[in-house]
């Protein structure tokens, strides 16, 4: 299509421009091969029995039935753990990042930037790179930093073996999860609050908004709903994705399945037991859970027109 013949080839009028396909092709291909096909494959495999060596054999809904009726580890440990973790790190982290973002926006630029950087920095390296750090802090003998501090303060008398303890493992994983949850969603909320229309605050004050809390509920939040939704989606994905922490700290499966999350369960069946069909079924369940939660966030936070 030569441009000279159609000088008024305005962008708004260009219907069905085939060039579009050329532009999106590279991304679309990579996306299809590494995201779309794997998801479809996961769904297909979830209906099979597959050990990674022999050709998968069709078993219908057996994997799902097993998951729901006879996988005791899943029902007694993995699912409750995942729910607790998701509520603490997903919802808790979300609320915390909103409050922090809001507080930061009440500061002047320099302290705000420094604080935001510090709060954001743990999320940069994710749990993986930080394993050694947590291993030192939660080391089970008296050379462990936390043990040493608690003993100094007289809270405990002898060292607690944190990373093998079924009692403390999940809380530890949650603390680490929260620590690294001030990610891109948090930045999005800061930006959303900073960009809210300032004249509205003055108007609201005249209209009888009496304190900061009312201002937050009636002025700030309605204005930044799109950012709130983005942050919510990020929080949900983060909460369900982060299973590696416990694997790295204590191995998979974690002692007594105390910190076994749904992602660890997939890893356990897929790469340790090589029951790939079953692992795929768990993956599909995970993807569905994330979708459902995101839908819920969506209907809560989308502007109705």
């Amino acid at each position: 299509m030569s441009k000279e013949k159609k000088p008024k080839n305005k962008i708004a009028k260009r219907e069905n421009n085939k060039h579009g396909y050329m532009f999106v092709a590279p991304y679309a291909i990579v996306f299809a091969v590494f995201i779309l096909i794997p998801v479809v494959l996961a769904v297909v495999l979830s209906f099979t029995n597959f050990n990674a060596i022999e050709w998968p054999s069709w078993v219908g809904f057996l994997n799902y039935i097993t998951l729901l009726t006879s996988d005791e580890v899943f029902m007694q440990h993995v699912l409750p753990n995942t729910v607790v973790y998701a509520v603490a790190v997903g919802v808790g982290g979300y609320v915390l990042s909103f409050i922090l973002a809001w507080a930061l926006c009440n500061l002047t630029r320099i302290p705000r930037t420094i604080f935001a950087l510090i709060l954001y920095s743990p999320s940069m390296t994710t749990g993986v790179a930080m394993t050694v750090l947590w291993k030192v802090i939660f080391s089970g003998d008296q050379t462990g930093l936390l043990n040493s501090w608690l003993m100094n303060l007289g809270i405990i008398n002898e060292p607690i073996i944190w990373l093998v303890s079924e009692k403390y493992l999940l809380p530890i994983v949650i603390v680490i999860g929260l620590w690294s949850s001030m990610g891109i969603g948090f930045l999005s909320m800061i930006a959303g609050i900073l960009n809210s229309d300032e004249s509205l605050y003055e108007a609201a004050a005249i209209d009888g908004v009496k304190n900061r809390f009312q201002e937050m509920i009636y002025i700030t939040i309605p204005q930044m709903k799109p950012q709130m939704l983005f942050a919510a989606v990020m929080a949900i994905v983060g909460a369900f994705q982060n299973g590696l922490i416990s694997t790295l700290l204590t191995g998979n499966p974690s002692p007594g399945y105390a910190a076994q999350l749904i992602v660890n369960h997939i890893e356990d069946y897929g790469f340790i037991r090589y029951e790939m069909g079953y692992a795929a079924a768990v993956s599909v369940v995970l993807l569905l859970i994330v979708q459902i939660f995101s839908k819920a966030a969506n209907s809560l936070l989308t502007e109705k027109e």
């Binding site: 962008i11 996306f31 291993k135 300032e198 004050a205």
Partner: protein
């Protein structure tokens, strides 16, 4: 005193802010503590690593751990430089390809009309909620079938398409006024010229943000080395670092691992500090409507 309103993003310091700083400070210290600790740990000499009671801050800083890290890897068959080299190559390739593909697609999705555009946008929106670890296995099968096991592409390609990055960049391209692009077309520019001369210069902040996001994913990625790569000489720094922590979890190993962690963390931090203005600029358009 009547309520004044409008104190978001204050221009100058007021007494009311002290209260907020005092509330935030303990939390900020708590968040920063692990990172400060690891930075100190990495420079501790042997006797301080062994010290009882354990110390938080380093007293006699030394580079011992870093030199040990280099020496240790020499004895293990694959030199540290190899892991660093792999990490750098993989990171550069991934970030480069990802930015190119993402910006091309964002431009097309935002400014070119073609059939299936809305569908693609919706699929990408859904994929933001995609949990990569859930499809480790099917991904493994795809990579196997494509013959990419033990190649650099197994590291790079799975991380190139990042739906969040595309979403953010596309939101930013939406802000580029159509009139500007129309003017370029009037002057006889082709689609590609518009992309290169008009769009790219105007969406720099979004590109920087996408770069950071992709960088963070690939630089600390360990799944690839664990599952898709069998050949040790093709694995990355993150993998090596983690193997240090697991195999060598003695106190001496801790010092080395802390040094390695610092090496992993600092590039992230520097990149973010340099680009933080752009990131905040992009995040302003991050809302999902």
């Amino acid at each position: 005193m009547a309520y004044k309103g409008k104190r978001i993003n204050p221009q100058k310091f007021e007494r009311g802010q002290i209260k907020i700083i005092l509330i935030l400070l303990p939390l900020v210290i708590f968040m920063a503590m692990p990172l400060v600790f690891i930075a100190n740990h990495a420079f501790k000499p042997m006797e301080e690593l062994f010290a009882f009671p354990p110390t938080f801050f380093v007293r006699n800083a030394t580079l011992e751990n870093f030199t040990k890290l280099i020496k240790f890897s020499r004895t293990s068959g694959t030199p540290l430089s190899r892991y660093v080299f792999n990490s750098v190559i993989v990171t550069v390739l991934t970030v480069g390809l990802s930015l190119l593909f993402t910006t091309l697609t964002a431009f097309a999705l935002s400014k070119i009309k073609f059939k299936g555009r809305n569908l693609m946008m919706q699929i990408n929106q859904l994929a933001i909620m995609f949990v990569a670890t859930a499809v480790l296995i099917p991904r493994y099968l795809v990579i196997c079938k494509a013959g990419m096991i033990d190649t650099v592409w197994a590291h790079v390609l799975p991380l190139v398409a990042m739906p969040v990055a595309l979403f953010l960049v596309k939101q930013f391209v939406d802000q580029v006024p159509d009139s500007l692009i129309e003017a370029a077309y009037m002057d006889g520019a082709t689609d590609f010229q518009v992309y290169r001369k008009v769009i790219i210069p105007m969406i720099r902040p979004a590109i920087a943000t996408a770069a950071i996001l992709v960088f963070q994913q690939v630089w600390t990625n360990m799944e690839t080395s664990n599952y898709y790569i069998n050949d040790d000489s093709m694995k990355t720094l993150t993998f090596y670092m983690n193997s240090l922590v697991n195999v060598n979890n003695t106190v001496a190993g801790q010092g080395m691992a802390a040094a390695a962690t610092l090496i992993m963390f600092v590039p992230n931090l520097i990149l973010f500090i340099i680009l933080q203005n752009s990131v905040m600029n992009t995040m302003a358009n991050s809302g999902i409507k």
